[in-house]
């Protein structure tokens, strides 16, 4: 089963990388945050005091990063199931002796790679901007690594499983595009809410995917001390939810409408 999933993942990665427009769009989304923060810091070189526009933008870094985790694999996810249905290549794939769970797993592995790559590009971009612009960010390295490994990197896995589910229930790329573009507002909306309404922060929110990552990133950016268990618990909750959504996607792929709907 895993072998077939790896075969599917490998093909999807090759296929996805050859879709140059989609790769460029994902790169642009990933670098949007660092570009905006970099440009504003160049325009206001002295504005690094607390409450200044640059300080607010640094606070918004977490929102840009969460969005990057969601959009890195979005185009590929859209193409993988909804696109396959539209191009009528899903039926030939399902004609093979492959369990539908393996199909979903393979596609998820591939799209997750794109999403994680988008996140890495985003974080690298921010690292570069912070290093060159001299922004007032004091990040503790052990905490950063902890949050990245356990808290942040499971987020694209959750994002891609959600995107694959949407791609599975959509009849074509256009329908998937409509829903997926709305999904991007999830991290954006939650991020904005937490930035502008601090009262919304509760302890239990720290264990919720998206909200938890936002809070962890903010804590880091403000030089706070990250507790060991918090990112690990958050990562476990995020991966569990991702797998649950993936199971629902595999279940949806079993339905007659997937074939007959074409």
């Amino acid at each position: 089963m895993l072998n077939q999933s790896l075969v599917i993942a490998r093909k999807e990665i090759v296929d996805g990388l050859r879709d140059v427009r989609s790769v460029i769009a994902s790169l642009f989304y990933a670098l949007m945050g660092p570009l905006v923060v970099g440009l504003v810091s160049m325009a206001h070189p002295g504005g690094t005091k607390p409450g200044s526009s640059v300080a607010v933008l640094v606070g918004m870094m977490s929102v840009f990063t969460l969005v990057a985790a969601f959009v890195g694999g979005m185009n590929v996810a859209m193409d993988m199931v909804a696109g396959e249905r539209e191009r009528r290549s899903l039926l030939p794939l399902l004609l093979n002796p492959v369990r539908r769970g393996s199909v979903v797993l393979g596609k998820w592995l591939a799209v997750s790679l794109f999403a994680v790559a988008g996140l890495v590009v985003n974080l690298s971009g921010f690292a570069l901007v912070f290093a060159t612009a001299g922004l007032p960010v004091k990040v503790a390295w052990p905490g950063l690594l902890l949050v990245m490994a356990f808290g942040l990197f499971p987020l694209p896995l959750f994002a891609t499983s959600t995107q694959l589910l949407i791609s599975t229930v959509s009849r074509g790329v256009k329908e998937a595009q409509t829903w997926l573009s709305l999904i991007v507002f999830l991290p954006m909306g939650i991020g904005m809410l937490l930035v502008f309404f601090p009262a919304a922060r509760q302890v239990w929110c720290g264990f919720l995917p998206v909200v938890g990552q936002q809070l962890q990133l903010e804590l880091l950016m403000n030089g706070g001390k990250v507790q060991l268990l918090q990112p690990i618990a958050l990562g476990c909750a995020t991966v569990t939810l991702a797998l649950l959504v993936l199971l629902i996607a595999a279940n949806r792929l079993q339905r007659d409408e997937i074939i007959h709907g074409n």
Binding site: R18, P92, L95, V98
Partner: protein, 241 residues
């Protein structure tokens, strides 16, 4: 060998296939014949194990679980569905790997199939912009790559030029002579008559008649196969025209 017994399938309460039973033996070409919407494609999809029947059973070479059925058949259904950003060879290799073919055997079979279908010269080209015939040939290659004992084809000559249709017919005859069970659906009566050892006529999801083209003509009391098809499918109780 494919055995279909009392097969039934409905979509949203509308029956697509009703109490359909027939047998497609090894070493023979069996044609599924019917008007548009008769239930041919739904039947082939159920045989392949991608749609679950509501009732009845399907047995392929003594196995009847959907995954096992998919393992025992090669199929080209409905549309070609090839990947346009992959080359012809990459398309074939991908599906061979999915079927778990050993790498050495896979590469040998890919070369053989490319040669059989005359695709060697374009094997390394990405498939975007390929003609319908080239896509169809590649999809056909995908269906026969693993040398299946049972081959299911849904209107395989759509979009093919005359020389390719002729070479496809030769290929199907060769497969039949080597013992393969070939089932294909078509609207083209001349093609069915020329190729099929046995014809299963379906109308509104039900079996109307089965036998060799000559037997069907005798049953309908007509000299031409076309007249026989019209007469059999346009009985008051079967008519879908």
């Amino acid at each position: 060998m494919i055995k279909v017994l009392e097969l039934g399938k409905s979509f949203a309460g509308r029956p697509a296939v009703r109490h359909l039973s027939f047998e497609a033996p090894d070493g023979a070409i069996t044609g599924l014949l019917g008007s548009n919407g008769a239930g041919k494609t739904t039947t082939l999809r159920m045989i392949c194990g991608v749609l679950q029947p509501d009732s009845g059973s399907i047995t392929i070479d003594a196995g009847n679980d959907p995954l096992g059925r998919r393992r025992r058949v090669g199929a080209l259904l409905d549309h070609t569905g090839i990947y346009s950003r992959l080359t012809v060879r990459e398309n074939l290799v991908y599906f061979g790997r999915l079927r778990g073919m050993p790498p050495k055997l896979l590469m040998e079979r890919v070369d053989q199939v490319l040669s059989i279908l005359g695709l060697e010269s374009i094997a390394s080209r990405r498939m975007a912009g390929f003609s319908q015939g080239e896509r169809m040939k590649t999809a056909l290659g995908r269906a026969i790559l693993h040398s299946p004992q049972n081959l299911l084809l849904d209107e395989p000559t759509n979009g093919l030029d005359v020389p390719t249709v002729r070479s496809l017919r030769d290929l199907l005859r060769r497969l039949r002579d080597s013992g393969t069970c070939v089932v294909f659906s078509s609207h083209v009566l001349d093609e069915v008559r020329a190729l099929c050892d046995k014809v299963v006529v379906i109308s509104s999801g039900s079996l109307i008649a089965q036998g060799s083209p000559t037997e069907l003509c005798a049953k309908a009391g007509t000299a031409s196969f076309e007249d026989a098809f019209i007469r059999l499918t346009c009985q008051p109780e079967n008519c879908s025209c």
